[in-house]
Symmetry: C2
Subunit: 209 residues, 2 copies
């Protein structure tokens, strides 16, 4: 069983047993340690040994579950994102309102220094390291983009959007200006910014009457 488990499933994952609870506690401690440390020392200086010491586990515990520090970090962010992705974006029937709610919450998250330091360190390392970048994009960014594509698809099916709209490019029109303001510091991330962005993007995607 252990060999067939997903890379982020620690061995002994039968739910509710003492082993399972212990493993899950270690796993969370390792994620918290990895995110805190990478924010403090940067990706280059992050080590498995350092994560193990901070988490209070042996380094063999980490190596048993993950092949590299990059894999630990990607899973640490990914485990937070998974719950969200499972739910999908809200769909109250008001596309503009739903997108503004989610993007305003994302603004607050990206403006939180504790949250952004590790995420920025991972993106920075990825700019120089194509394999890490592709893992990062595949594990963390693409699932996020797909959530927006799916919400736009529901709106198109409900007749709100133009039937010929390119949903992927539509999602990028919403998300890339946000990401670039954050990553390159080309502008402030505010609620007013995302509200205007949503309005201008949706005008471009809506069905013409």
């Amino acid at each position: 069983m252990a060999n067939k488990a997903a890379p982020d499933a620690p061995p002994g994952s039968a739910g509710g047993t003492p082993t399972r609870r212990y493993s899950e506690r270690s796993r969370q401690a390792i994620f918290e340690a990895a995110l805190a440390l990478v924010g403090e020392v940067g990706y280059e200086k992050l080590t498995i040994e350092g994560i193990a010491a901070r988490a209070g586990v042996g380094k063999q515990t980490i190596y048993r579950w993950w092949p590299s520090k990059a894999a630990v970090l990607l899973d640490a962010f990914g485990s937070a994102a998974d719950a969200y992705e499972h739910e999908g974006l809200p769909d109250t029937g008001d596309l503009a309102a739903d997108l503004k709610v989610v993007l305003r919450a994302t603004v607050d998250e990206f403006n939180d220094a504790a949250w952004q330091a590790p995420y920025r360190a991972l993106v920075a390392a990825g700019t120089n390291d194509e394999e890490l970048s592709r893992s990062f994009v595949g594990r963390l960014m693409e699932p996020g983009i797909r959530l927006y594509v799916e919400r736009l698809r529901a709106a198109r099916e409900a007749g709100e959007l133009d039937p010929d709209v390119d949903l992927r490019i539509g999602a990028e029109m919403l998300l890339s200006p946000f990401s670039q303001r954050w990553l390159m510091r080309t502008g402030e991330l505010t609620h007013a910014f995302v509200d205007t962005l949503v309005d201008q993007v949706l005008r471009g995607l809506r069905r013409r009457d």
Copy 2:
């Protein structure tokens, strides 16, 4: 006079004298060496000594004009961009066609390995180095964004765009999806991509009839 000259103006810049021609030749050789080297060895390993050796000048010549390798690189890219910025974007009266011409040419440029290696190295270094990033954005990205803002402003004044449109956010809707596909490798940069992007963005900005 030399002390008052702009950082990118070598001393002895009286036009047309032998000194001026010599300086300009050295300056171009230094820029070419810096761009070639940073693409080969990355930003971290780039040194002023290496640039000087490749350019066939003494390292004091470089230190006389620029305080750091970052300053050399920013000027090297900037000097190429300045000519372009001086002209502005084409304005034939057909906004969509003008934007597609420019963005298709930019696609070809960003898909050129020789051109993209040094640019990517500089962006990568900037993700970790806030001061370098702010110089990069201020010297290279902001002038580019402003070109698009100005072209959109001309279209708004010509009555093509909605009078209430936010021009800055409109320019980011065009440019950020492009930048993110390139930097994060989230998608292909093709002519078809920028054509659809321009069409969907302009639908959002155009005056409603």
